[in-house]
C-alpha cells in the first residue's frame, strides 16, 4: 500500500542494543501512543474565541424556507394514513404521540416497502426539503450568546468520548462535570417552559397510564411495582423533548453534547435518564432485566420502529439518509461491513446536502452534525466497534481539513475520503484477505464456518472458483439462523456443504480440518469479538487441535482489551429465545415476562480468548493474535489519525 517507515534501512540487522552489548543506548522507543490522545489538538482549537462570535440575534438567510415547508411538502410514498404528521410545535401533541406510539403494532413495519430496497427508498425520499427545514431551526433558534458559549465549551467532551472510547472510566468521570454548566446556564424562561411541560405531561400520562398498560403488546399484566415510574417518566421525557424541539432550543447542540457513549453504563441511573431525555427514539425498557447485564441497554424490541416511523417529520435534525439507515438497523440490516458501509454512505449523503450555517465553521459544525447522527443511530442499535472506528476516522478527517478550503472543496474532500475508506479498508481489504486465506485451503479439506460472515463467504466462493476440492460445514444456531443464508448461497454456487446446528459441534469437528470464522472486532489482547457462539466453536476446535482462522479487516481492530463477554455486549430481544417460530406447541414460556424469577439474556456477541485462535487473516497478511496491537499501533497512527 502506501510507503511508510521510510527511515528504516532493511539490511541493517536492527541491533536493538540489548543489555551490555553496546555502549551507546538507543533513543527510547516511542511509547505506545494510545490513539485516544489524538483529539487533544482539535480540542484546543475548539475553545478558541472564534466560536463565540455568534451574534445574539440571528437573521435566517432568506433562501431557507420556513418551518411550515415541512407540512406543505407534497406527500411522499412514506406518508401513510396511520401516521398523520404531527406538527412539531404544539405541546398538545403529547397525548396523541404517546397514543400513537403504543397503539401502532410493530407489524406496521411491513408498510414500508422502501425499507427492503435502499436504492428505491433513497429515491423516494425527497431530501431537500428536510435538510433545509432542519437548518432553519438551527439557524433561527439561537437565543443567547451565553448558551452558545456553553455549547462550544461542551463540544470537546462530546468528541473525546467518541475517540477515547477505550477508557470508559475516564469518560464517566468527565461527563457529569461537563454537563453541569449547561444546566445552570439555561435561561429562566426555558426552565419554566420545561417545568410546565413536565407538569402537563405528567397529568396526561396519568390519564394515559391505564390505557398504556392495557394496550401495550407484551405487557398484558400490570407492571411490577418498581417499573411504572420509569414508564411514566418516559412519557414525560418524550413530551419534554418534543416540546423542546418545537420550541426555540438549539436542540442539535444539546444532542451533540449528549451523544450517548457507545459503551455507556446503563446501570448509571442519572446518565441513563439524561440520555433518555435527549433521545429521539422512544425505547421502552425491558422488564425482566438480567442482573448481570444491567449495564447494557435493555429495551423492548419492536417498539422503536413504529415510533420512529411516526416521528419521521419531527426529526428535523436527522438527515433522511441517516434516518433510513437507522430504520434499516432496526429491521433487516445486519453484518458488520454492511452496517458500516450503509452508515458511511448515509453520512456521505448528509454531507452532500450540508451547508455550513453562517457564523459557523464547517469543521466544527459538521462534526457536531455527525455526532448527532451517530447518537441517533446508537438509539436505533448500539454501534459496532467497526462503525466506531469508521466514525472516528471521519471525524478526524473533518477535524484535519485545511482551513483554507472552501465549503464545496471541503465537502468534496470528505466525501472522497469516505469513498476511499469504504474502498480501501473494506472492499479491497476483503479481497486481500481472500487472497491470503485461499492459500490455506488445500484439496481435500473440510472447512467449518459458523454463522454467516461476508469475508468467509467470499473466501469459500473464491476457493471454489479456483477449483479447489473441499467441503464446507456450516454451523448455525438459534435464534438468528444466519447460516441458512450462507448455506443457500454456497449451495447455489455448487459448493459441497453440510449444515448442522451448534449442538452437534463436537460431533462434526472430527472430520474438520480448518475452521474459518468471521469477527465483529478483534481487540488488543487478541480477543475475537464476534457473533455469540463463536467462542464455543473456537474452543471445541482448539480441543480437537483444528486450526482456527479468523478473518477480519484491520479497520475492525480496536485497542480496547476485553476479558469476558459481559462487560461490553449487546442484548437482543429475549422473546426470540422464548418462542420457536413455526412451533406453536412449544409455548411453555408464554408470558414469561410476568415471572419475576425468569430472565432471558439474549446476547448478540461473545469474546473468544486468543488462545483458541491460531491465526488472524487481515489485510496486512496473516498474523498471530498477539500481533493485533502491533497493527493497531503501526497503522492507526499513520492512516487514520
Amino acid at each position: 500500500m502506501e510507503p511508510r517507515r521510510t527511515s528504516r534501512a532493511v539490511i541493517d540487522p536492527k541491533v536493538r542494543q540489548v543489555g551490555f552489548f553496546t555502549a551507546t543506548p538507543p533513543p527510547p522507543p516511542d511509547p505506545i501512543r494510545s490513539s485516544s490522545s489524538f483529539p487533544s489538538a482539535p480540542l484546543i482549537n475548539d475553545i478558541s474565541p472564534s466560536g463565540n462570535s455568534l451574534s445574539p440575534v440571528m437573521i435566517p438567510p432568506p433562501r431557507h424556507p420556513s418551518d411550515s415547508l415541512v407540512l406543505r411538502r407534497p406527500p411522499s410514498p412514506l406518508d401513510s394514513d396511520f401516521y398523520p404528521p404531527p406538527s412539531p410545535t404544539t405541546t398538545a401533541s403529547a397525548g396523541d404521540m404517546s397514543d400513537d406510539v403504543i397503539v401502532s403494532p410493530p407489524g406496521k413495519a411491513g408498510g414500508w416497502p422502501s425499507l427492503k430496497n435502499p436504492q428505491s427508498a433513497a429515491a423516494s425520499v425527497p431530501s431537500g426539503g428536510f435538510v433545509t427545514a432542519g437548518l432553519v431551526k438551527v439557524a433561527s433558534s439561537v437565543p443567547a450568546t451565553g448558551l452558545t458559549t456553553v455549547s462550544v465549551v461542551n463540544l470537546p467532551p462530546g468528541i473525546s468520548e467518541k475517540a477515547g472510547g477505550a477508557v470508559s472510566v475516564e469518560v464517566q468521570n468527565e461527563r457529569p462535570v461537563s454537563s453541569k454548566p449547561l444546566k445552570e446556564k439555561t435561561s429562566k424562561a426555558e426552565r419554566r417552559a420545561l417545568q410546565e411541560a413536565q407538569r402537563a405531561a405528567k397529568a396526561a400520562a396519568k390519564v394515559e397510564g391505564s390505557k398504556t398498560s392495557i394496550v401495550a403488546p407484551s405487557n398484558a399484566k400490570p407492571t411490577k411495582p418498581g417499573k411504572p415510574p420509569s414508564q411514566k417518566n418516559d412519557n414525560v421525557t418524550t413530551v419534554a423533548a418534543s416540546e423542546k424541539k418545537g420550541g426555540d432550543r438549539p436542540l442539535e447542540k444539546e444532542r451533540k453534547k449528549d451523544v450517548p457513549h457507545p459503551r455507556m453504563q446503563y446501570d448509571d441511573k442519572s446518565r441513563v435518564e439524561k440520555a433518555k431525555r435527549r433521545s429521539v427514539v422512544k425505547q421502552t425498557e425491558a422488564r425482566n432485566i438480567v442482573e448481570l447485564f444491567r449495564h447494557l441497554p435493555q429495551y423492548e424490541h419492536g417498539t422503536q420502529l413504529p415510533d420512529l416511523q411516526s416521528k419521521f417529520f419531527e426529526l428535523d435534525t436527522v438527515h433522511p439518509a441517516v434516518y433510513k439507515v437507522g430504520l434499516q438497523y432496526l429491521t433487516d440490516l445486519c453484518g458488520g461491513n454492511a452496517r458500516c458501509i450503509a452508515m458511511l454512505q448515509a453520512f456521505q449523503e448528509a454531507i452532500k446536502d450540508y451547508s455550513t450555517p453562517c457564523e459557523k465553521t464547517l469543521t466544527r459544525d459538521l462534526t457536531a452534525k455527525i455526532s448527532s447522527y451517530v447518537s441517533f443511530l446508537i438509539e436505533c442499535r448500539p454501534l459496532s466497534i467497526s462503525m466506531g472506528n469508521a466514525i472516528r476516522f471521519l471525524k478526524n478527517r473533518i477535524a484535519k481539513l485545511p482551513i483554507t478550503l472552501t465549503e464545496s472543496e471541503a465537502k468534496a474532500t470528505i466525501q472522497s475520503d469516505i469513498d476511499l475508506f469504504i474502498n480501501e479498508k473494506i472492499i479491497v481489504a476483503d479481497k486481500v484477505i481472500v487472497k491470503h486465506a485461499v492459500t490455506k485451503i488445500r484439496d481435500g479439506d473440510v472447512l467449518l464456518t459458523y454463522g454467516s460472515s461476508s469475508a468467509v463467504e467470499m473466501i469459500l466462493l473464491h476457493a471454489h472458483e479456483l477449483g479447489k476440492q473441499f467441503r464446507v460445514v456450516v454451523v448455525d444456531s438459534r435464534p438468528k439462523l444466519e447460516g441458512k443464508l450462507l448455506l443457500r448461497r454456497l449451495v447455489e454456487k455448487g459448493v459441497n456443504c453440510t449444515y448442522t446446528h451448534i449442538n452437534a459441534i463436537s460431533y462434526i469437528l472430527h472430520e474438520v480440518t480448518r475452521v474459518f470464522l468471521g469477527a465483529s472486532s478483534v481487540l488488543s489482547n487478541g480477543t475475537v469479538y464476534s457473533r455469540v457462539g463463536t467462542a464455543c466453536v473456537a474452543m471445541v476446535a482448539h480441543a480437537f487441535r483444528v486450526p482456527v482462522l479468523v478473518c477480519c479487516e484491520a479497520y475492525k481492530f480496536h485497542e480496547r482489551v476485553q476479558l469476558d463477554s459481559i462487560c461490553s455486549n449487546e442484548l437482543g430481544d429475549p422473546n426470540v429465545i422464548s418462542k420457536v417460530s413455526g412451533r406453536e406447541d412449544i409455548n411453555y414460556l408464554d408470558g414469561w415476562a410476568n415471572s419475576q424469577n425468569l430472565q432471558l439474556p439474549n446476547l448478540i456477541y461473545d469474546a473468544t480468548p486468543s488462545d483458541y485462535v491460531s491465526m488472524i487473516i487481515t489485510d496486512y497478511g496473516m498474523v498471530p493474535p498477539t500481533s493485533v496491537p502491533v497493527i493497531v499501533r503501526e497503522y492507526r497512527r499513520e492512516h487514520w489519525v
Binding site: 510507503p3 511508510r4 517507515r5 521510510t6 528504516r8 534501512a9 532493511v10 539490511i11 541493517d12 540487522p13 536492527k14 541491533v15 536493538r16 540489548v18 543489555g19 551490555f20 552489548f21 490455506k440 480448518r514 486450526p547 482462522l549 491460531s614 491465526m615 496486512y620 497478511g621 496473516m622 498474523v623 498471530p624 498477539t626 500481533s627 502491533v630 497493527i631 503501526e634
Partner: protein, 401 residues
C-alpha cells in the same frame, strides 16, 4: 490397536538392531519379511547398507564418517540443483537474460561453499554480484533485473527458508532505497553493493551478538540439551566455554544425517562434557536437562520455528516437563510464512537410510524438518535481542509492511 499387539513386543525384543527405527517400520516389516524382500526386490532408497553389523560398530563408523563434516545435505542440494538448473536455463533462454540468471546461481553456489557463510548471506552476495555486473541505467531496470535473479534463486531451492528470506530482505531493501536519496544512479548502485558486502559481516556479528546475549541464561552446573547441528548454537556454547562456564551438553544424534555427532565432536574439542543420545532418548533424559537449545532453519510469523525433524517432539517433551526451550536464530531467518500445522509447508525431503532394506510397499516419511508452534518455545535469541515468540510477528510486520 496395532501397536499394542504382542507381535510388536516380540519384534522389538528379537530385533534390537532397529532400535532407533520409527515404530511403524518395525511392526510392519518383521525381520524374516525384510530379508526376503531385500533379496527379491532391493529398494531404491537404501541401496547399500550392511544390516548385520553390530550396533556399536555401526555407530562408530557413522560417527567416523560424519564426525568430520556432514556433506549429505549439500550433496543432495547440488543434485537438486542439477535437476532444476536445466529448467532454469530453458526459462532464461526464453526470457533473454539467460547468462545473467545462470551466473546468479553459480555465484550463489560459490559463496555457499564457504562453511561459515549462511545461505541467506550467500544469496545476498550473489545478488550483489548481479548488481555489480548489471548494465542497467536506471533504478527501475536494476530492480527488475534483481527481481528476476532473486526469483530464479528462490525457485532454484524452494525448500530453503533462509535463502528465500534473504532474497526477500535484500529486495525489500532495494525497493525501499530510492535513487532519489542519492544524487545519481551510480552512487546508489555502489551503496547497494556496499550494503550487500556488509551483510556478510553482519551475519557473523549476529552470531556473536546472540552468543553474548545467551550467556546470561547459561549458569554454572547446568545441563543443556541440543538438537542437530547449528552454527549459532555452537558459537553460543563456545562462548560459554570460553567464559569458563561449567556446563554439560547432551547432544541428540540427529538422525538421519547425524549432525548431532558433528556438534558433539566440536564440543569435545572445547573440553565441554558431552553426552550423546539417540533421538528417541530425549524424554528419558529430560529430567536431568535444565534447558533446551535449538537453532532454526526459519522463524515464521507465528513465532514458531521450522527446524530439523525432531525439534517439535523435543519441544513438546520439554514443555510438558516445564523446561525452557531456547531458540538461537539470526534475524535474517525470519520469514513471512505461517504454517498452521506440520503439513502446511513446502516439504523438504531427504533420503533416510534405516540400515535395512525397506520393502517397496512400505512408505517412508522423508520430510527433513518440522514446525514447532510458538507456545512450546520460551525465548528466541536473535541479533535483535532476546525475544518472546510473539515479537517475531511484530518485527516482520515492521520489516515487510
Amino acid at each position: 490397536m496395532w501397536w499394542r499387539s504382542a507381535s510388536f513386543i516380540l519384534d522389538n525384543s528379537r530385533n534390537p538392531v532397529n532400535d532407533d527405527v520409527p515404530p511403524d517400520s518395525i511392526t510392519i516389516s518383521p525381520p524374516p519379511l525384510t530379508d526376503s524382500t531385500a533379496a527379491a526386490a532391493p529398494t531404491l532408497q537404501i541401496p547399500n547398507f550392511n544390516r548385520n553389523m553390530s550396533m556399536s560398530a555401526y555407530y562408530q563408523t557413522r560417527a567416523a564418517h560424519h564426525g568430520v563434516v556432514t556433506s549429505d545435505w549439500l550433496a543432495q542440494a547440488q543434485e537438486a540443483a542439477a535437476a532444476t538448473g536445466a529448467v532454469d536455463g530453458q526459462e532464461d533462454g526464453g526470457g533473454g537474460t539467460g547468462g545473467r540468471a545462470f551466473s546468479v546461481i553459480d555465484e550463489f553456489n560459490s559463496w555457499r561453499k564457504q562453511p561459515d557463510l549462511a545461505e541467506a548471506v550467500a544469496a545476498i552476495r550473489a545478488l550483489a554480484a548481479v548488481i555489480r555486473n548489471s548494465e542497467a541505467n536506471t533504478m527501475m531496470e536494476l530492480e527488475i533485473e534483481l527481481k528476476k535473479a532473486s526469483d530464479s534463486l528462490k525457485s532454484w531451492d524452494t525448500t530453503s527458508i533462509s535463502l528465500t528470506a534473504g532474497c526477500d530482505l535484500f529486495m525489500r531493501y532495494v525497493t525501499r532505497t530510492s535513487a532519489l536519496e542519492y544524487e545519481e544512479f551510480n552512487s546508489a548502485k555502489c551503496r547497494l553493493i556496499e550494503r550487500a558486502e556488509k551483510f556478510g559481516e553482519i551475519s557473523c556479528k549476529a552470531r556473536r551478538i546472540i552468543a553474548m546475549l545467551s550467556q546470561d541464561f547459561i549458569f554454572d552446573g547446568c545441563t543443556i540439551l541440543v538438537h542437530g547441528f547449528s552454527r549459532v548454537v555452537l558459537e553460543l556454547l563456545k562462548t560459554a566455554a570460553q567464559n569458563k562456564k561449567l556446563f554439560r551438553v547432551l547432544c541428540t544424534e540427529g538422525r538421519p544425517d547425524r549432525t548431532g555427532l558433528r556438534l558433539s565432536n566440536e564440543l569435545a574439542k572445547l573440553d565441554v562434557p558431552v553426552k550423546l543420545l539417540i533421538d528417541s532418548a530425549v524424554a528419558y533424559t529430560m529430567d536431568e536437562v535444565d534447558m533446551v537449545f535449538v537453532g532454526a532453519d526459519g522463524v515464521v510469523e507465528s513465532g514458531g520455528i521450522i527446524n530439523m525433524m525432531g525439534t517439535y517432539q523435543i519441544a513438546l517433551v520439554a514443555h510438558s516437563m516445564n523446561k525452557p526451550v531456547y531458540v538461537a536464530a539470526e534475524s535474517y531467518k525470519f520469514a513471512r510464512l505461517y504454517p498452521l500445522d506440520q503439513k502446511d509447508m513446502s516439504p523438504a525431503l531427504r533420503p533416510i537410510d534405516f540400515g535395512v532394506p525397506i520393502p517397496s510397499k512400505v512408505e517412508v516419511e522423508t520430510s527433513a524438518r518440522d514446525y514447532t508452534p510458538p507456545q512450546y518455545l520460551t525465548l528466541l535469541f536473535t541479533d535483535l535481542g532476546v525475544l518472546t515468540p510473539s515479537v517475531v510477528s511484530d518485527e516482520l510486520i515492521q520489516l515487510y509492511l
